[in-house]
């Protein structure tokens, strides 16, 4: 016997009461290995207006390409101080930012390596279920052969790749979430 999964409902406009108890915008402790990256961007609606009531959740491997999860049985080091999970709300200008490390590559279903990426869930008022997308890294040769990027029509792949910018404290990456319309971010159907 198999039941249906419980139906999703929107987080609504007041989710900060329940979800912002545990904001995590900085995933990096001092002794975590890997290249530090600061990623910022905006969530925009179909009119190009900022979305101030959105919240992102991210999930990624550590710099070795190992997930802190029992089903990752790769022979790669785990780091106790790196969970790979973050939760990042947008502010009144629809802007978000987080600090992490560039993840190492993880395998795809064919046993080849995927390009380094961060899995992202987007929740907001108006989204009846979460949106799923990915952040990839600029100047990364592995992007050309990446399993998931190849599923996307070439003209839209760029929406998944962060861009280098100069941030307030040095180099940073910009990656935006365009919910609808021109330049719409690629969203994935990965299940729920």
């Amino acid at each position: 016997m198999s039941s249906n999964v419980t139906t999703s409902q929107t987080v609504g406009p007041f989710f900060s009461i329940g979800l912002c108890r545990s904001i995590k915008q900085n995933l990096v402790e001092a002794d975590v290995s890997g290249e530090r990256v600061s990623i910022e961007g905006r969530v925009l609606d179909g009119d190009g207006q900022p979305v101030p009531d959105a919240i992102l959740e991210i999930w990624q491997a550590n710099s070795y390409g190992k997930y802190a999860h029992p089903e990752d049985d790769q022979d790669k080091p785990l780091e106790a101080n790196f969970t790979g999970y973050g939760r990042i709300p947008t502010n009144d200008a629809g802007t978000f930012h987080f600090s992490t490390i560039k993840p190492g590559p993880v395998p795809d279903p064919d046993g080849k390596l995927q390009a380094p990426h961060i899995a992202v869930s987007v929740f907001a008022r108006g989204l009846l279920r979460r949106l799923v997308t990915r952040v990839y890294f600029p100047d990364e040769p592995a992007n050309d052969s990446d399993f998931a990027l190849k599923l996307v029509e070439p003209a839209r792949r760029g929406t998944l790749v962060a861009k280098k910018i100069t941030g307030p404290v040095g180099a940073a990456l910009e990656w935006n979430v365009i919910l609808q319309g021109s330049g719409e971010t690629v969203f994935f159907d990965c299940g729920l």
Binding site: S3, F14, I17, G18, S22, D72, L128, R129, L151, L179
Partner: protein
């Protein structure tokens, strides 16, 4: 490791589409293009866990987070979290948030004419036990007006956020109350086409968990994605 035991995908119409025009906020926020089908990889079948989350009494009893008792009807909300095959999901993090008994959220964007309650914040969290069970003590939230359409009112509801075993199983939903006359008119409750899927968002009044002279019990069970029976991907 390359062979992947995926989590099953939902049956059509048992989950909402992104665009549901009666819900005005979806109109400019729903993507116009269909999502790209992504077979699950190691990135999707893993996900965060929260072994160190504090679950002191205050986290699960929303009536004991302040010096005094909150106003309103005290209730017990409990249930079980399982996968689609009925297996309990253990140590699953549940976060809830809700309006107070007057229908007002402790949030700067909620400015409707109902009082805040100094003894009620409206948020809690819990980890499921070894049988997948959870239990909260709270007050029954009030209905409240919103700007979606003329004379629009949200039925009483409690927001639920759940982390299952994987990124692919992440779920956020809302729990409703049986017999609420506002349900047929609520565009959010009605966003899912399948009627039985919708109706499982309505909790069940429960004598078993009702505490005499103290609190009525409502039962709300949640189902998260189960596994495919066969793996895919290359053996390495």
């Amino acid at each position: 490791m390359a062979r992947i035991f995926s989590y099953r995908r939902p049956h059509p119409d048992t989950q909402p589409r992104y665009l549901h025009s009666p819900y005005a906020s979806s109109i400019k926020r729903a993507p116009a293009k269909p999502p790209v089908y992504l077979p699950q990889t190691l990135s999707e079948i893993t996900g965060p866990s929260f072994p160190n989350v504090e679950t002191e009494v205050k986290a699960t009893d929303l009536t004991r987070q302040h010096h005094g008792d909150p106003l309103g009807e005290r209730i017990i909300v409990s249930g079980r979290v399982t996968d689609q095959d009925g297996r309990p999901l253990r140590q699953a993090l549940i976060e809830i948030w809700q309006a107070n008994a007057a229908g007002r959220y402790l949030h700067e964007s909620d400015q409707h004419q109902a009082p805040l309650d100094p003894n009620f914040t409206g948020c809690g969290h819990a980890l499921t036990d070894n049988e997948g069970k959870y239990r909260f003590v709270t007050v029954r939230p009030g209905a409240y007006p919103w700007g979606n359409h003329y004379n629009a009112w949200r039925p009483a509801h409690i927001h639920f956020s759940l982390f299952g075993p994987a990124f692919a199983t992440r779920l956020v939903t809302q729990m409703y109350f049986p017999g609420d006359p506002l349900l047929p008119f609520d565009p959010i409750f009605n966003c899912t086409a399948d009627e039985s899927a919708r109706n499982r968002l309505i909790s069940v009044f429960d004598w078993e968990t009702t505490i005499p002279s103290l609190a009525l019990g409502y039962r709300f069970d949640l189902v998260m994605s189960g596994r495919e029976a066969t793996p895919y991907g290359a053996l390495t």
